[in-house]
């Protein structure tokens, strides 16, 4: 690993937190997107059937 010296924990900690928070945000965004899309398609199919 590149020489992080005695502050290794600090630097890695900061990056870990950032990656964690970004991951939570991206996953939440993607999941909400998929759920909403499926519900919308289901609703449209139902509306189409009933005319």
């Amino acid at each position: 690993m590149v020489g992080l010296g005695k502050y290794a924990a600090t630097v890695l900690g900061a990056y870990a937190v950032t990656i964690l928070l970004l991951a939570v945000l991206v996953i939440a965004t993607l999941r909400r997107g998929r759920v909403m899309r499926e519900r919308l398609e289901a609703q449209e199919r139902r509306m189409a059937r009933h005319g």
């Binding site: 899309r37 919308l40 398609e41 449209e44 189409a48």
Partner: protein, 226 residues
């Protein structure tokens, strides 16, 4: 609509091609009617058709989705479901407050018209439903406005109070005023015109047009997606 008299009398209220929305959705559209002095119009239709929404739009509480509303210069007097009375204040204090808001000096005539003089000093919370509604009507009298907008005016009223209400409205019409009322209950006002809102229910926008946000979703929404 209201019978056309010989000379074109200036209309108190003119509504042309009005569309009304609730929760971002158009619920009524293509509404056109007008009220001559002395005319009363009752909005009828099943619950949830949009009677209250239409009345609130005419009162200016809601922006119309489309169309125009020509109101009298001096504005309107609106009365909603609740009477807007402060329970802790007395009948006279409540009425005097509204009188000063509308710039009327004397509340005595309104009190006597609604025969509330006896209860002038009683706190509003001790009044019966009928008396509270009469105080609400007294507020309308005090407002001095020619156009009354009444939402479910006779709800929770006994027969005698309904009669008194009808009398008050007739007197108001006789003085050249006009009234637009939304209710699904008979008001005892036989001479009032009826307007059934079922005919003006907003149809889902046909493909391609339809104003506003929801109208823009025509056809299969996901057609736009790869």
């Amino acid at each position: 609509m209201a019978p056309r008299s010989a000379t074109p009398v200036p209309m108190i209220l003119t509504v042309s091609d009005l569309a009304v929305a609730q929760g971002g959705m158009a619920i009524l559209e293509g509404l056109s009617f007008d009220l001559a002095p002395g005319a009363a119009l009752v909005l009828r239709g099943p619950n949830g058709i949009g009677k209250t929404t239409l009345l609130r739009t005419v009162a200016g509480l809601l922006p119309p989705r489309a169309g125009r509303i020509a109101l009298p210069a001096e504005g309107t007097a609106y009365a909603g479901h609740a009477d807007g009375l402060k329970a802790v204040l007395s009948v006279a204090e409540n009425l005097r407050f509204w009188a000063r808001i509308y710039g009327t000096a004397d509340i005595a005539p309104a009190l006597s018209a609604m025969d509330l003089q006896a209860h002038a000093d009683r706190p509003a919370q001790t009044l019966s439903a009928g008396q509270k509604r009469r105080l609400g009507l007294a507020r309308l009298l005090v407002s001095g406005r020619r156009l009354w907008l009444l939402d479910e005016p006779t709800v929770s009223l006994d027969a005698a109070s309904v009669g008194l209400f009808a009398g008050a409205v007739r007197a108001h019409l006789a003085r050249g005023g006009a009234a637009l009322m939304a209710t699904h209950v008979d008001l005892g006002l036989d001479e009032a015109e009826l307007l059934d809102l079922l005919a003006f229910r907003a149809r889902p926008p046909a493909a391609g047009q339809g104003g506003g946000f929801d109208g823009a979703f025509d056809g299969p929404f996901d057609g736009a997606f790869t």
